[in-house]
């Protein structure tokens, strides 16, 4: 550094965090990262088969109900 004034500041001794506090701080961040990873993997995991089958049963039920309703409407009108 060519600036003598800034050089004075640059040469001041650096500081370090208390080791115990640094460890706690780092561990806290690790926990946050782990939590994020768990949430992300839960979000990416495909729906289990029973969830799909329930949805399929639901759709079929809606389809059949509608089909019966329309059939009744058509034949009932005659």
């Amino acid at each position: 550094m060519s600036d003598p004034l800034l050089d004075l500041i640059a040469r001041l001794p650096p500081a370090t965090m208390a080791p115990e506090r640094a460890r706690r701080s780092q561990a806290r961040c690790h926990r946050v990262l782990a939590r994020r990873a768990t949430t992300a993997s839960n979000r990416e995991r495909p729906l289990p088969w029973h969830a799909w089958s329930r949805a399929l049963v639901g759709l079929v039920a809606v389809y059949l109900t509608e089909a019966v309703r329309q059939a009744l409407q058509a034949y009932g009108a005659r």
Partner: protein
């Protein structure tokens, strides 16, 4: 940190890689801590703000831009947290006893560094630095100790490079005056413990 390495680390951080976080932590922890400690003049405050800085990084890791430059990112967060801290302190002080004269760090308050500074000159520089307004102190520290380029340092302060240059020039003048005003002290002089 090489730019290529940094980009890889950012990518890994975005994926939530713990080892990548540890690498960033090892590279920047002391530098950001020194910056915050000299800025706040209080160890407990610097430790709290630094922890919050790291928490912000891990919380926002997934949303980091792939070309993030970690140094400026960390120093910006640290600096903003310190500004928020000063504002909250000022509010507390204002509500308790009025604004004037209660700026958190008066010229008479020695920094923790002063207690351990090896030489008379270091002690004087520490005292002079601690006596400056926070805005001046931060530009001097960013340029002299953070390892950031002047443009990056300006972005940390969220001002243009030209405005940063002017602020730096003003801060240099203030520091020169402060150094002249700080009387030489005997090495064994007792200091008030602030942390």
């Amino acid at each position: 940190m090489e730019r290529e390495t940094e980009l890889t680390i950012v990518e890994r951080l975005r994926a939530g890689d713990r080892a990548a976080f540890d690498e960033v932590y090892a590279a920047f922890n002391d530098r950001v801590f020194t910056f915050l400690l000299r800025l706040s003049c209080r160890r407990d405050v610097a430790e709290d703000l630094l922890e919050e800085t790291w928490l912000r990084l891990v919380t926002h890791a997934g949303r980091l831009s792939p070309d993030t430059t970690l140094g400026p990112w960390l120093f910006t967060v640290a600096r903003n947290l310190h500004v928020s801290y000063l504002r909250s302190r000022l509010l507390e002080d204002t509500s308790s006893a009025g604004l004037v004269g209660l700026w958190p760090y008066g010229a008479h308050r020695p920094s923790p560094f002063e207690e351990t500074a090896a030489s008379e000159l270091e002690r004087r520089v520490e005292r002079a630095l601690a006596s400056l307004p926070s805005g001046s102190r931060e530009v001097l520290l960013l340029v002299a100790t953070s390892g950031l380029s002047p443009t990056e340092a300006a972005s940390v302060c969220q001002i243009s490079p030209e405005a940063f240059r002017q602020r730096l020039s003003r801060a240099r003048t203030q520091l020169t005056r402060a150094l002249e005003a700080v009387p030489p002290m005997p090495a064994s002089a007792p200091f008030e413990v602030t942390s």
